[in-house]
């Protein structure tokens, strides 16, 4: 074994490029290397090296405060890492601003709904189209042809996305007046409208009723079948296991296990972390 091999990480875990899904040897869509981010000296994410293949559905689980949302925010650019690199499609992106990463079609559904107040549901979804439409102030002010053409496209894509999450009847409602479950669906519609290449979903199922959860699972299945690469954070292990090809388990900011859902959930370290999770939840409520 050469020294380079040693530095690449613990030999116990195979390099993630050889994950069961995704043809090996192909550049993964997303790859993080020794990623770290601390808040006030405490590392929320540390030494995270992982890669996600194109078309893969990656589950990310872990106890409260394990660093899952922090990891997503590092990938989407809403947080900057203290250390480490992020490659996307073979290019380094850790220095890019959030809007630039959004333009690369990295779309995120935040854990807490971030809607645009004062805009209707349809307008909120239309905002998703910002990344793939181009016309600016000048063309809009003078209603030049590209503006007209793109506005038509934006509207039809937004309506399509609303249809997919079953929210067409609420198109003209003020987004803020929606109940929480529908606010989540609205966020999902917005990212669908952005034609994402990598979709980050931070607990999209939390707060949903059973049937809403089921239709979300159905939608995610469809997206997976269409070949969309996704990362999904979810506390409901059953929900993730049913959807994900691979699950990454975080604990105190570090990856403690990674592999097919049924293997990972049997891992003693993971079970131990989840007992901690149960305690954490009990204290919260």
């Amino acid at each position: 074994m050469s020294p380079e091999d040693v530095t690449r990480g613990p030999a116990a875990r195979p390099p993630a490029t050889e994950s069961p899904v995704g043809p090996s040897g192909v550049v993964p869509l997303l790859r993080t290397e020794d990623l770290a981010r601390s808040f006030g000296g405490v590392f929320a994410v540390a030494e995270v090296s992982m890669s996600v293949a194109r078309g893969e559905m990656r589950g990310v689980i872990g106890a409260n405060g394990a660093g899952k949302s922090t990891l997503f925010n590092l990938i989407s650019g809403h947080l900057t890492p203290n250390r480490g690199t992020i490659s996307y499609g073979g290019k380094r992106i850790e220095h890019l601003a959030p809007h630039e990463r959004a333009r690369l079609r990295i779309s995120i559904v935040f854990q807490t709904a971030r809607l645009f107040a004062g805009m209707t549901v349809l307008e909120n979804v239309m905002m998703g189209a910002h990344v793939w439409s181009r016309h600016g102030f000048f063309e809009a002010a003078l209603r030049l042809p590209r503006h007209r053409k793109e506005e038509r496209e934006i509207r039809s894509k937004a309506e399509e996305a609303l249809e997919r999450v079953g929210m067409t009847p609420w198109a003209a409602t003020e987004a803020e007046s929606l109940p929480l479950g529908q606010q989540r669906s609205l966020q999902v519609a917005r990212v669908l409208c952005s034609k994402p290449a990598l979709l980050l979903l931070d607990e999209p199922a939390s707060g949903l009723r059973a049937e809403e959860k089921e239709s979300l699972a159905g939608l995610l299945e469809q997206l997976k079948a269409e070949g969309l690469t996704m990362m999904l954070i979810e506390h409901d292990v059953g929900f993730v296991s049913g959807l994900a090809d691979t699950v990454t388990v975080l604990d105190l900011g570090r990856v403690i296990a990674e592999g097919p859902p049924d293997e990972v959930t049997q891992d003693p370290a993971v079970i131990a972390a989840y007992i901690g999770e149960g305690r954490g939840r009990a204290q919260r409520h």
Partner: protein, 356 residues
């Protein structure tokens, strides 16, 4: 609706007396500036308490260039461009600020510019310029007020159409989005910094072209022509009928101009002290601003509608309870300048606790 406005604004000046025609022209110029400010404050949520500075920059650009022999038409074209360029430059540091910090910064910028003008002989100093030529090409100059009235209102209609188009488009939605949450707007790919600069520059360009026409029409410009009071007047015009509405800004400009005219007539009635007109106009701005910001944050009409909806059995639209960010920052501005920061119930206000 726009066609109706265009027709009315074309025909109306034919009936007006020359004094009223002057009011009518100034009204149009304020309306253009107010529409720009409405775009900035109402749509993009960025407060400017110094918008008159861009009116001044436009006026001075037009005056200086034409007094140095440049064609007045070219000078008028350059006026909004320079105003926009200045906005784009000062916007870089200023637009990082939010809420009432931004309001103070824009106000400070206006004061700085006015004092620079006052102390620069090249710019006419404190006395300003007189004998600015009238607008025209070669020997054909626009000499009648009627001509200026048509020019001004033609511009107003164009500005309205352009602004309405903008609001109902991709960039317009992006501006509304960043007004509610910059982080969320960034997450959907809106380059927030660039968009804020663009809308600031655009609003400055509206003010700049209005200022250019103003100086050709009046023929005179001094630092005293563009006081902070004018900036406040513009804010009042924009908020009175509801932020972010182009028509609201137009009617706000009309309403306030007419009100000021009436107050001026009352103030100069026989036997009134000399300071009366100024006193009345300050009192009116202050009163309107406080009433709107504190009690009718959505503007007069939506505010009344909301009060109506609150009647027993009425249905209140949850949206109307929302307070637009610029209004909220004006509110905190009013509160922070209040000498005693204690709430009615005796508990310290958040501002006070923060200071401790």
């Amino acid at each position: 609706m726009i066609l109706l406005l265009a027709a009315a604004s074309f025909l109306l000046p034919l009936w007006l007396s020359s004094a009223n025609l002057t009011v009518y022209i100034l009204l149009g110029l304020y309306a253009v500036t107010a529409i720009g400010l409405s775009l900035l404050m109402g749509l993009a949520g960025q407060v400017s308490l110094g918008q008159a500075v861009f009116f001044a920059i436009g006026a001075y650009t037009a005056a200086v260039l034409s007094l140095h022999g440049l064609s007045t038409v070219v000078a008028l074209v350059l006026a909004p461009l320079l105003a926009a360029a200045v906005a784009a430059v000062v916007g870089v540091p200023i637009l990082r600020l939010r809420g009432h910090h931004l309001a103070f910064a824009t106000l400070a910028f206006q004061l700085i510019v006015l004092s620079v003008i006052t102390n620069t002989p090249f710019l006419g100093g404190g006395l300003g310029f007189t004998a600015v030529p009238g607008l025209g090409i070669g020997k054909a100059t626009l000499s009648s007020s009627l001509g200026y009235a048509w020019l001004t209102w033609g511009l107003t209609v164009v500005v309205m159409v352009v602004t309405l188009n903008l609001i109902r488009s991709r960039p317009g939605r992006a501006l509304r989005a960043l007004a509610t949450s910059e982080a969320a707007a960034e997450s959907v790919g809106v380059p927030v910094v660039r968009y804020k600069l663009a809308v600031f520059a655009l609003s400055a360009a509206y003010a700049g072209v209005a200022g250019g026409i103003y100086v050709f029409f009046i023929g005179y410009a001094s630092p005293g022509s563009f006081p902070v009071e004018l900036s406040v007047e513009l804010v009042v015009m924009v908020v009175i009928f509801g932020l972010g509405s182009v028509w609201g800004a137009l009617f706000g400009a009309a309403g306030i101009s007419v009100l000021m005219q009436v107050l001026n007539q009352v103030g100069t009635l026989h036997g009134m002290p000399q300071y009366m007109p100024t006193l009345l106009s300050y009192a009116a701005y202050g009163l309107i601003l406080v009433v709107i910001v504190m009690f009718l944050p959505a503007g007069v009409l939506p505010g009344l509608r909301r009060l109506w909806a609150r009647r027993p059995g009425g249905r209140e639209d949850p949206m109307s309870r929302q307070i637009a960010p610029p209004i909220a920052s004006l509110r905190s501005l009013l509160r922070s300048t209040r000498p005693k920061t204690t709430r009615a119930d005796g508990t310290p206000s958040p501002e006070q606790t923060r200071r401790q």
